[in-house]
Protein backbone atom coordinates (compact mmCIF):
# COMPACT_ATOMS: atom_id res chain seq x y z
CA UNK A 1 0.00 0.00 0.00
CA UNK A 2 2.86 2.39 0.85
CA UNK A 3 4.50 1.57 -2.46
CA UNK A 4 1.28 2.31 -4.33
CA UNK A 5 1.00 5.58 -2.43
CA UNK A 6 4.61 6.51 -3.26
CA UNK A 7 4.06 5.86 -6.98
CA UNK A 8 0.75 7.75 -6.86
CA UNK A 9 2.37 10.77 -5.21
CA UNK A 10 5.17 10.82 -7.78
CA UNK A 11 2.70 10.44 -10.65
CA UNK A 12 0.62 13.27 -9.24
CA UNK A 13 3.69 15.54 -8.99
CA UNK A 14 4.79 14.58 -12.49
CA UNK A 15 1.42 15.17 -14.16
CA UNK A 16 0.43 18.30 -12.26
CA UNK A 17 3.70 19.95 -13.38
CA UNK A 18 2.97 19.09 -17.01
CA UNK A 19 2.69 22.33 -18.99
CA UNK A 20 0.28 20.77 -21.46
CA UNK A 21 -2.12 20.14 -18.59
CA UNK A 22 -1.88 23.79 -17.56
CA UNK A 23 -2.57 24.98 -21.09
CA UNK A 24 -5.61 22.70 -21.41
CA UNK A 25 -7.00 23.84 -18.06
CA UNK A 26 -6.49 27.50 -18.98
CA UNK A 27 -8.24 26.87 -22.27
CA UNK A 28 -11.11 25.18 -20.41
CA UNK A 29 -11.46 28.16 -18.07
CA UNK A 30 -11.44 30.38 -21.16
CA UNK A 31 -14.25 28.32 -22.67
CA UNK A 32 -16.27 28.56 -19.46
CA UNK A 33 -15.83 32.34 -19.56
CA UNK A 34 -16.82 32.23 -23.25
CA UNK A 35 -20.14 30.73 -22.17
CA UNK A 36 -20.84 34.21 -20.76
CA UNK A 37 -20.90 35.50 -24.30
CA UNK A 38 -23.27 32.72 -25.39
CA UNK A 39 -25.42 33.57 -22.39
CA UNK A 40 -25.57 37.21 -23.46
CA UNK A 41 -27.22 36.31 -26.79
CA UNK A 42 -29.69 33.84 -25.31
CA UNK A 43 -32.70 36.08 -24.53
CA UNK A 44 -32.49 36.20 -20.73
CA UNK A 45 -31.37 32.59 -20.34
CA UNK A 46 -27.98 33.49 -18.90
CA UNK A 47 -27.94 31.08 -15.94
CA UNK A 48 -29.18 28.14 -17.98
CA UNK A 49 -26.68 28.67 -20.81
CA UNK A 50 -23.77 29.19 -18.41
CA UNK A 51 -24.54 25.99 -16.51
CA UNK A 52 -25.20 23.86 -19.56
CA UNK A 53 -22.34 25.01 -21.78
CA UNK A 54 -20.03 25.29 -18.77
CA UNK A 55 -20.59 21.62 -17.95
CA UNK A 56 -20.03 20.70 -21.60
CA UNK A 57 -16.68 22.54 -21.45
CA UNK A 58 -15.74 20.78 -18.19
CA UNK A 59 -16.57 17.39 -19.72
CA UNK A 60 -14.80 18.03 -23.00
CA UNK A 61 -11.57 19.40 -21.58
CA UNK A 62 -11.62 16.89 -18.75
CA UNK A 63 -11.85 14.16 -21.38
CA UNK A 64 -8.90 15.60 -23.30
CA UNK A 65 -6.76 15.66 -20.15
CA UNK A 66 -7.91 12.20 -19.00
CA UNK A 67 -7.31 10.46 -22.31
CA UNK A 68 -4.05 12.02 -23.39
CA UNK A 69 -2.36 11.93 -20.00
CA UNK A 70 -3.59 8.39 -19.23
CA UNK A 71 -2.48 7.07 -22.63
CA UNK A 72 1.11 8.25 -22.20
CA UNK A 73 1.39 7.42 -18.52
CA UNK A 74 2.61 3.84 -18.78
CA UNK A 75 4.14 4.24 -22.22
CA UNK A 76 6.43 7.04 -21.16
CA UNK A 77 7.87 4.90 -18.37
CA UNK A 78 8.46 2.00 -20.76
CA UNK A 79 9.91 4.14 -23.56
CA UNK A 80 12.24 6.04 -21.23
CA UNK A 81 13.19 2.73 -19.60
CA UNK A 82 12.52 4.21 -16.17
CA UNK A 83 10.17 1.30 -15.57
CA UNK A 84 13.17 -1.04 -15.35
CA UNK A 85 14.73 1.05 -12.60
CA UNK A 86 11.43 0.92 -10.78
CA UNK A 87 10.99 -2.83 -11.17
CA UNK A 88 14.51 -3.48 -9.91
CA UNK A 89 13.12 -2.32 -6.55
CA UNK A 90 10.52 -4.33 -4.62
CA UNK A 91 7.59 -2.93 -6.61
CA UNK A 92 5.05 -5.20 -8.26
CA UNK A 93 3.49 -4.48 -11.63
CA UNK A 94 0.01 -4.38 -10.10
CA UNK A 95 1.22 -1.80 -7.59
CA UNK A 96 2.75 0.16 -10.45
CA UNK A 97 -0.53 0.29 -12.40
CA UNK A 98 -2.61 1.16 -9.31
CA UNK A 99 -0.10 3.81 -8.25
CA UNK A 100 -0.08 5.36 -11.71
CA UNK A 101 -3.86 5.31 -11.89
CA UNK A 102 -4.41 6.78 -8.43
CA UNK A 103 -1.81 9.51 -9.05
CA UNK A 104 -3.56 10.52 -12.23
CA UNK A 105 -6.94 10.30 -10.46
CA UNK A 106 -5.61 12.81 -7.90
CA UNK A 107 -4.49 15.12 -10.71
CA UNK A 108 -7.91 14.85 -12.33
CA UNK A 109 -9.51 15.61 -8.98
CA UNK A 110 -7.56 18.87 -8.75
CA UNK A 111 -8.37 19.76 -12.38
CA UNK A 112 -12.09 18.94 -12.16
CA UNK A 113 -12.51 20.54 -8.73
CA UNK A 114 -10.86 23.70 -10.06
CA UNK A 115 -13.06 23.84 -13.15
CA UNK A 116 -16.22 22.94 -11.22
CA UNK A 117 -15.65 25.56 -8.52
CA UNK A 118 -14.77 28.16 -11.12
CA UNK A 119 -18.02 27.45 -13.00
CA UNK A 120 -20.01 27.49 -9.74
CA UNK A 121 -18.57 30.84 -8.66
CA UNK A 122 -18.96 32.35 -12.12
CA UNK A 123 -22.64 31.32 -12.21
CA UNK A 124 -23.09 32.64 -8.68
CA UNK A 125 -21.49 36.01 -9.39
CA UNK A 126 -22.76 36.65 -12.92
CA UNK A 127 -26.17 34.95 -13.09
CA UNK A 128 -26.81 34.82 -9.30
CA UNK A 129 -28.36 31.40 -9.78
CA UNK A 130 -25.70 28.86 -8.84
CA UNK A 131 -27.06 25.54 -7.72
CA UNK A 132 -25.41 22.82 -5.67
CA UNK A 133 -26.30 20.45 -8.50
CA UNK A 134 -23.46 22.02 -10.49
CA UNK A 135 -20.97 20.59 -8.00
CA UNK A 136 -22.76 17.22 -7.93
CA UNK A 137 -22.64 17.17 -11.74
CA UNK A 138 -18.91 17.97 -11.69
CA UNK A 139 -18.32 15.11 -9.24
CA UNK A 140 -20.21 12.72 -11.51
CA UNK A 141 -18.31 13.96 -14.57
CA UNK A 142 -15.14 13.22 -12.58
CA UNK A 143 -16.28 9.64 -12.01
CA UNK A 144 -17.13 9.23 -15.71
CA UNK A 145 -13.69 10.52 -16.65
CA UNK A 146 -12.06 8.10 -14.20
CA UNK A 147 -13.79 5.30 -16.10
CA UNK A 148 -12.42 6.61 -19.39
CA UNK A 149 -8.99 6.99 -17.77
CA UNK A 150 -9.06 3.40 -16.48
CA UNK A 151 -10.04 2.12 -19.93
CA UNK A 152 -7.30 4.22 -21.57
CA UNK A 153 -4.71 2.91 -19.10
CA UNK A 154 -5.91 -0.62 -19.90
CA UNK A 155 -5.51 -0.05 -23.65
CA UNK A 156 -2.13 1.62 -23.15
CA UNK A 157 -0.83 -1.62 -21.62
CA UNK A 158 -1.63 -3.55 -24.80
CA UNK A 159 -1.24 -1.02 -27.59
CA UNK A 160 0.40 2.28 -28.55
CA UNK A 161 -0.34 5.56 -26.79
CA UNK A 162 -2.09 7.09 -29.81
CA UNK A 163 -4.31 4.06 -30.33
CA UNK A 164 -5.07 3.97 -26.61
CA UNK A 165 -6.17 7.63 -26.79
CA UNK A 166 -8.42 6.95 -29.77
CA UNK A 167 -9.92 3.90 -28.06
CA UNK A 168 -10.41 5.88 -24.83
CA UNK A 169 -12.37 8.58 -26.67
CA UNK A 170 -14.35 5.88 -28.52
CA UNK A 171 -15.30 4.26 -25.22
CA UNK A 172 -16.46 7.65 -23.89
CA UNK A 173 -18.69 8.12 -26.96
CA UNK A 174 -19.93 4.52 -26.78
CA UNK A 175 -20.68 5.02 -23.09
CA UNK A 176 -23.05 7.84 -24.01
CA UNK A 177 -24.86 5.48 -26.40
CA UNK A 178 -24.98 2.33 -24.30
CA UNK A 179 -28.79 2.46 -24.04
CA UNK A 180 -28.92 2.13 -27.86
CA UNK A 181 -27.05 -1.17 -27.65
CA UNK A 182 -29.65 -2.34 -25.16
CA UNK A 183 -32.40 -1.36 -27.61
CA UNK A 184 -30.56 -3.35 -30.28
CA UNK A 185 -30.49 -6.41 -28.02
CA UNK A 186 -34.26 -6.07 -27.59
CA UNK A 187 -34.88 -5.59 -31.29
CA UNK A 188 -32.66 -8.45 -32.50
CA UNK A 189 -34.51 -11.46 -33.84
CA UNK A 190 -31.84 -14.14 -33.39
CA UNK A 191 -30.81 -15.37 -29.97
CA UNK A 192 -27.11 -15.08 -30.87
CA UNK A 193 -27.50 -11.43 -31.92
CA UNK A 194 -29.50 -10.66 -28.81
CA UNK A 195 -26.88 -12.33 -26.60
CA UNK A 196 -24.00 -10.57 -28.39
CA UNK A 197 -25.72 -7.17 -28.08
CA UNK A 198 -26.36 -7.79 -24.41
CA UNK A 199 -22.71 -8.70 -23.78
CA UNK A 200 -21.59 -5.51 -25.58
CA UNK A 201 -24.12 -3.55 -23.51
CA UNK A 202 -22.62 -4.90 -20.28
CA UNK A 203 -19.03 -4.39 -21.44
CA UNK A 204 -19.52 -0.75 -22.47
CA UNK A 205 -19.55 1.58 -19.46
CA UNK A 206 -22.95 3.18 -18.96
CA UNK A 207 -22.07 6.88 -18.91
CA UNK A 208 -25.59 8.24 -19.43
CA UNK A 209 -27.60 6.46 -16.75
CA UNK A 210 -28.53 9.60 -14.82
CA UNK A 211 -29.84 12.81 -16.43
CA UNK A 212 -27.43 15.00 -14.53
CA UNK A 213 -27.12 17.94 -16.93
CA UNK A 214 -30.91 18.17 -17.37
CA UNK A 215 -31.18 18.13 -13.56
CA UNK A 216 -28.75 21.05 -13.23
CA UNK A 217 -30.89 23.22 -15.53
CA UNK A 218 -34.13 22.13 -13.83
CA UNK A 219 -35.29 19.95 -16.69
CA UNK A 220 -35.20 16.65 -14.80
CA UNK A 221 -34.98 15.62 -11.18
CA UNK A 222 -32.41 12.92 -10.55
CA UNK A 223 -32.93 11.09 -7.26
CA UNK A 224 -30.10 10.69 -4.77
CA UNK A 225 -30.68 6.92 -4.81
CA UNK A 226 -30.15 6.72 -8.58
CA UNK A 227 -27.07 8.94 -8.32
CA UNK A 228 -25.60 6.80 -5.53
CA UNK A 229 -26.32 3.58 -7.45
CA UNK A 230 -24.73 4.97 -10.60
CA UNK A 231 -21.68 6.25 -8.70
CA UNK A 232 -21.29 2.80 -7.13
CA UNK A 233 -21.54 1.18 -10.57
CA UNK A 234 -18.87 3.53 -11.99
CA UNK A 235 -16.49 2.85 -9.08
CA UNK A 236 -16.98 -0.91 -9.50
CA UNK A 237 -16.34 -0.59 -13.24
CA UNK A 238 -13.14 1.37 -12.59
CA UNK A 239 -11.85 -1.28 -10.16
CA UNK A 240 -12.56 -4.08 -12.65
CA UNK A 241 -10.82 -2.29 -15.53
CA UNK A 242 -7.74 -1.32 -13.48
CA UNK A 243 -7.49 -4.91 -12.22
CA UNK A 244 -7.70 -6.11 -15.84
CA UNK A 245 -4.99 -3.60 -16.82
CA UNK A 246 -2.78 -4.88 -13.98
CA UNK A 247 -3.38 -8.47 -15.06
CA UNK A 248 -2.40 -7.69 -18.66
CA UNK A 249 0.61 -5.62 -17.55
CA UNK A 250 1.84 -8.49 -15.34
CA UNK A 251 2.01 -10.72 -18.41
CA UNK A 252 3.61 -8.11 -20.64
CA UNK A 253 7.14 -8.78 -21.86
CA UNK A 254 9.40 -5.79 -22.42
Amino acid sequence: MRRVFAIAVNTFRETIRDRVLGVIVLFALGMIIASLWLASISLNQQARMMKDFGLVAVTFFGLVVAVFVAASLVHKEVEKRTVFVLFSKPVGRTEFIWGKFLGLAATMLVVLAGMGLFLFLLTLVVAKQASGWLLVATALIYLQLLVVMAVTVFFSTVTSAILASVLGISVFVAGQLSHNVLSLSRLGSGVALKAASWIVYVLIPNLSAVDIKPTVVGEASASWASIAAWAGYLVAYIVVVVLAASWVFRRKEF
Binding site: L38, I41, S42, L43, N44, Q45, R48, M49, D52, F53, L55, V56, Q176, L177, H179, N180, S183, L207, S208, V210, D211, I212, K213, P214, V217, G218, E219
Partner: protein
Protein backbone atom coordinates in the same frame (compact mmCIF):
# COMPACT_ATOMS: atom_id res chain seq x y z
CA UNK B 1 21.80 45.28 -35.61
CA UNK B 2 20.72 45.34 -39.27
CA UNK B 3 19.36 41.79 -38.94
CA UNK B 4 17.29 42.80 -35.94
CA UNK B 5 15.93 45.89 -37.70
CA UNK B 6 14.92 43.77 -40.69
CA UNK B 7 13.15 41.27 -38.40
CA UNK B 8 11.27 44.05 -36.66
CA UNK B 9 10.30 45.59 -40.01
CA UNK B 10 9.09 42.25 -41.36
CA UNK B 11 7.07 41.65 -38.17
CA UNK B 12 5.53 45.13 -38.35
CA UNK B 13 4.70 44.67 -42.04
CA UNK B 14 3.02 41.34 -41.27
CA UNK B 15 1.00 42.89 -38.42
CA UNK B 16 -0.03 45.76 -40.71
CA UNK B 17 -1.03 43.23 -43.38
CA UNK B 18 -3.15 41.23 -40.92
CA UNK B 19 -4.89 44.34 -39.57
CA UNK B 20 -5.45 45.78 -43.08
CA UNK B 21 -6.94 42.49 -44.33
CA UNK B 22 -9.37 42.26 -41.44
CA UNK B 23 -10.27 45.94 -41.70
CA UNK B 24 -11.03 45.45 -45.40
CA UNK B 25 -13.04 42.28 -44.70
CA UNK B 26 -15.05 44.23 -42.12
CA UNK B 27 -16.14 46.82 -44.71
CA UNK B 28 -17.89 44.22 -46.89
CA UNK B 29 -21.69 44.34 -46.67
CA UNK B 30 -23.30 41.90 -44.26
CA UNK B 31 -24.15 38.61 -45.97
CA UNK B 32 -27.74 38.19 -47.12
CA UNK B 33 -30.01 36.05 -44.99
CA UNK B 34 -29.48 32.36 -45.50
CA UNK B 35 -31.95 29.90 -46.95
CA UNK B 36 -35.03 29.82 -44.72
CA UNK B 37 -35.30 26.08 -45.40
CA UNK B 38 -32.47 24.94 -43.15
CA UNK B 39 -32.24 21.28 -42.19
CA UNK B 40 -33.42 20.57 -38.66
CA UNK B 41 -32.97 16.99 -37.39
CA UNK B 42 -35.77 15.10 -35.72
CA UNK B 43 -35.85 15.43 -31.91
CA UNK B 44 -36.01 11.63 -31.72
CA UNK B 45 -32.56 11.46 -33.30
CA UNK B 46 -31.06 13.40 -30.40
CA UNK B 47 -33.10 11.77 -27.65
CA UNK B 48 -31.95 8.37 -28.94
CA UNK B 49 -28.39 9.56 -29.45
CA UNK B 50 -27.67 11.16 -26.10
CA UNK B 51 -30.50 11.56 -23.60
CA UNK B 52 -28.22 12.95 -20.89
CA UNK B 53 -27.02 15.75 -23.19
CA UNK B 54 -30.45 16.66 -24.52
CA UNK B 55 -30.61 20.01 -22.71
CA UNK B 56 -27.19 21.04 -24.04
CA UNK B 57 -28.36 20.20 -27.57
CA UNK B 58 -31.64 22.06 -26.95
CA UNK B 59 -29.68 25.11 -25.77
CA UNK B 60 -27.48 25.06 -28.87
CA UNK B 61 -30.58 24.91 -31.09
CA UNK B 62 -32.25 27.62 -28.98
CA UNK B 63 -29.37 29.96 -29.83
CA UNK B 64 -29.64 28.95 -33.49
CA UNK B 65 -33.42 29.46 -33.42
CA UNK B 66 -33.31 33.02 -32.08
CA UNK B 67 -30.53 33.86 -34.54
CA UNK B 68 -32.57 32.35 -37.41
CA UNK B 69 -35.66 34.32 -36.34
CA UNK B 70 -33.74 37.60 -36.03
CA UNK B 71 -31.91 37.14 -39.33
CA UNK B 72 -35.09 36.46 -41.32
CA UNK B 73 -37.19 38.99 -39.44
CA UNK B 74 -34.71 41.67 -40.54
CA UNK B 75 -34.70 40.52 -44.17
CA UNK B 76 -37.22 38.28 -45.97
CA UNK B 77 -39.75 37.48 -43.20
CA UNK B 78 -39.66 33.80 -44.16
CA UNK B 79 -39.57 31.36 -41.25
CA UNK B 80 -40.02 28.01 -43.01
CA UNK B 81 -37.80 26.06 -40.61
CA UNK B 82 -39.06 27.75 -37.43
CA UNK B 83 -41.78 25.19 -36.58
CA UNK B 84 -39.24 22.33 -36.81
CA UNK B 85 -36.78 24.25 -34.63
CA UNK B 86 -39.44 24.96 -32.01
CA UNK B 87 -40.43 21.30 -32.04
CA UNK B 88 -36.80 20.23 -31.58
CA UNK B 89 -36.04 22.61 -28.70
CA UNK B 90 -39.29 21.99 -26.79
CA UNK B 91 -39.16 18.22 -27.26
CA UNK B 92 -35.56 18.01 -26.03
CA UNK B 93 -36.24 20.40 -23.16
CA UNK B 94 -39.96 20.34 -22.26
CA UNK B 95 -39.50 22.57 -19.17
CA UNK B 96 -37.65 25.30 -21.08
CA UNK B 97 -40.39 27.91 -20.52
CA UNK B 98 -38.77 30.78 -22.37
CA UNK B 99 -38.63 28.64 -25.53
CA UNK B 100 -42.43 28.24 -25.50
CA UNK B 101 -43.13 31.92 -24.83
CA UNK B 102 -40.71 33.12 -27.51
CA UNK B 103 -41.92 30.54 -30.02
CA UNK B 104 -45.57 31.39 -29.45
CA UNK B 105 -45.00 34.95 -30.67
CA UNK B 106 -42.39 34.05 -33.30
CA UNK B 107 -44.77 31.52 -34.89
CA UNK B 108 -47.31 34.31 -35.34
CA UNK B 109 -44.77 35.95 -37.66
CA UNK B 110 -44.53 32.61 -39.45
CA UNK B 111 -48.34 32.82 -39.91
CA UNK B 112 -48.85 29.73 -37.76
CA UNK B 113 -50.96 30.82 -34.75
CA UNK B 114 -52.31 27.25 -34.65
CA UNK B 115 -48.80 26.06 -33.81
CA UNK B 116 -48.37 28.84 -31.22
CA UNK B 117 -51.47 27.50 -29.50
CA UNK B 118 -50.29 23.90 -29.88
CA UNK B 119 -46.87 24.56 -28.31
CA UNK B 120 -48.35 26.67 -25.51
CA UNK B 121 -50.66 23.76 -24.71
CA UNK B 122 -47.66 21.40 -24.72
CA UNK B 123 -45.78 23.82 -22.47
CA UNK B 124 -48.74 24.05 -20.08
CA UNK B 125 -48.86 20.26 -19.89
CA UNK B 126 -45.13 20.11 -19.06
CA UNK B 127 -45.28 23.09 -16.64
CA UNK B 128 -48.73 22.91 -15.05
CA UNK B 129 -47.91 25.27 -12.15
CA UNK B 130 -46.74 28.21 -14.25
CA UNK B 131 -49.58 30.73 -14.65
CA UNK B 132 -48.02 32.29 -17.76
CA UNK B 133 -49.08 29.30 -19.90
CA UNK B 134 -52.85 29.48 -19.33
CA UNK B 135 -52.56 33.28 -19.42
CA UNK B 136 -50.94 33.20 -22.88
CA UNK B 137 -53.34 30.48 -24.00
CA UNK B 138 -56.23 32.76 -23.07
CA UNK B 139 -54.61 35.64 -24.93
CA UNK B 140 -53.96 33.53 -28.06
CA UNK B 141 -57.45 32.03 -27.97
CA UNK B 142 -59.00 35.50 -27.78
CA UNK B 143 -56.67 37.24 -30.25
CA UNK B 144 -56.06 34.64 -32.97
CA UNK B 145 -59.24 32.60 -33.05
CA UNK B 146 -60.13 33.98 -36.50
CA UNK B 147 -63.77 33.91 -37.52
CA UNK B 148 -65.00 31.64 -34.75
CA UNK B 149 -68.03 32.63 -32.66
CA UNK B 150 -66.77 35.46 -30.42
CA UNK B 151 -68.98 34.44 -27.50
CA UNK B 152 -67.53 30.94 -27.56
CA UNK B 153 -63.99 32.30 -27.92
CA UNK B 154 -64.55 34.63 -24.96
CA UNK B 155 -65.63 31.70 -22.81
CA UNK B 156 -62.61 29.60 -23.89
CA UNK B 157 -60.26 32.51 -23.13
CA UNK B 158 -62.01 33.19 -19.81
CA UNK B 159 -61.56 29.54 -18.86
CA UNK B 160 -57.79 29.81 -19.42
CA UNK B 161 -57.61 33.06 -17.46
CA UNK B 162 -59.57 31.43 -14.63
CA UNK B 163 -57.08 28.54 -14.58
CA UNK B 164 -54.18 31.02 -14.55
CA UNK B 165 -55.81 33.00 -11.73
CA UNK B 166 -55.63 29.94 -9.46
CA UNK B 167 -51.87 29.41 -9.93
CA UNK B 168 -49.18 30.81 -7.63
CA UNK B 169 -47.61 34.18 -8.40
CA UNK B 170 -50.33 35.30 -10.78
CA UNK B 171 -51.07 38.99 -11.35
CA UNK B 172 -54.37 40.19 -9.80
CA UNK B 173 -55.51 41.50 -13.18
CA UNK B 174 -55.79 37.97 -14.64
CA UNK B 175 -58.86 37.12 -12.57
CA UNK B 176 -60.43 40.43 -13.64
CA UNK B 177 -59.78 39.54 -17.29
CA UNK B 178 -61.48 36.18 -16.76
CA UNK B 179 -64.55 37.82 -15.25
CA UNK B 180 -64.75 40.45 -18.00
CA UNK B 181 -64.50 37.81 -20.74
CA UNK B 182 -67.16 35.64 -19.10
CA UNK B 183 -69.52 38.60 -19.25
CA UNK B 184 -68.55 39.14 -22.91
CA UNK B 185 -69.26 35.49 -23.65
CA UNK B 186 -72.76 35.78 -22.19
CA UNK B 187 -71.98 33.74 -19.06
CA UNK B 188 -73.51 36.39 -16.83
CA UNK B 189 -73.91 34.29 -13.69
CA UNK B 190 -70.34 32.93 -13.91
CA UNK B 191 -69.07 36.47 -14.48
CA UNK B 192 -70.92 37.70 -11.38
CA UNK B 193 -69.49 34.88 -9.27
CA UNK B 194 -65.97 35.49 -10.57
CA UNK B 195 -66.20 39.23 -9.83
CA UNK B 196 -67.49 38.44 -6.34
CA UNK B 197 -64.53 36.09 -5.76
CA UNK B 198 -62.20 38.83 -7.01
CA UNK B 199 -63.75 41.24 -4.51
CA UNK B 200 -63.18 38.71 -1.75
CA UNK B 201 -59.55 38.00 -2.56
CA UNK B 202 -58.33 41.06 -4.41
CA UNK B 203 -56.61 44.29 -3.45
CA UNK B 204 -58.35 47.67 -3.17
CA UNK B 205 -58.09 48.36 -6.89
CA UNK B 206 -59.52 44.91 -7.76
CA UNK B 207 -62.38 45.54 -5.33
CA UNK B 208 -63.21 48.88 -6.98
CA UNK B 209 -63.19 47.16 -10.40
CA UNK B 210 -65.35 44.32 -9.07
CA UNK B 211 -67.96 46.72 -7.64
CA UNK B 212 -68.12 48.67 -10.91
CA UNK B 213 -68.49 45.46 -12.97
CA UNK B 214 -71.04 43.93 -10.61
CA UNK B 215 -73.04 47.13 -10.54
CA UNK B 216 -73.46 46.75 -14.30
CA UNK B 217 -74.10 42.98 -14.22
CA UNK B 218 -76.49 42.68 -11.25
CA UNK B 219 -80.18 43.39 -11.78
CA UNK B 220 -81.01 47.03 -10.96
CA UNK B 221 -84.26 46.23 -9.11
CA UNK B 222 -83.76 46.29 -5.32
CA UNK B 223 -85.43 42.94 -4.54
CA UNK B 224 -83.78 41.06 -7.44
CA UNK B 225 -80.44 42.54 -6.47
CA UNK B 226 -80.86 41.51 -2.82
CA UNK B 227 -81.47 37.87 -3.78
CA UNK B 228 -78.58 37.90 -6.32
CA UNK B 229 -76.17 39.36 -3.74
CA UNK B 230 -77.32 36.87 -1.08
CA UNK B 231 -76.22 34.04 -3.37
CA UNK B 232 -72.67 35.45 -3.33
CA UNK B 233 -72.25 35.22 0.45
CA UNK B 234 -70.06 32.07 0.27
CA UNK B 235 -67.63 33.57 -2.24
CA UNK B 236 -65.96 35.94 0.21
CA UNK B 237 -65.00 36.12 3.90
CA UNK B 238 -67.87 37.18 6.19
CA UNK B 239 -65.95 40.30 7.31
CA UNK B 240 -65.83 41.54 3.73
CA UNK B 241 -69.37 40.60 2.84
CA UNK B 242 -70.96 43.43 4.85
CA UNK B 243 -68.64 45.99 3.21
CA UNK B 244 -69.45 44.42 -0.16
CA UNK B 245 -73.19 44.74 0.47
CA UNK B 246 -72.70 48.37 1.52
CA UNK B 247 -70.76 49.13 -1.66
CA UNK B 248 -73.10 47.32 -4.05
CA UNK B 249 -76.23 48.97 -2.61
CA UNK B 250 -74.77 52.48 -2.48
CA UNK B 251 -77.43 54.86 -3.72
CA UNK B 252 -80.30 52.47 -2.95
CA UNK B 253 -82.94 53.55 -0.37
Amino acid sequence: MLKRSVSVLVALACVAGVVAYQAHAGTKPAPAAGDPNVFVPSPKFYTDLSPSSRTSIADAYWLQMIQYYGEHWKTDHRFDALPAMVDLVTTLSPRFKQAYFFSAFALIDAHRPDLSYHYLLAGYKANPTDWHFPFYLGFFAWTYAGNEDRHHVAIVAADYYSQAAKLPGVLPSVARLAAALLAKGGEKQKAIETWAAIYGQGDKYSQQKAIAALDALLPPGKHERISAVAALRDLMPASQYSRFVGAIFRGYQ
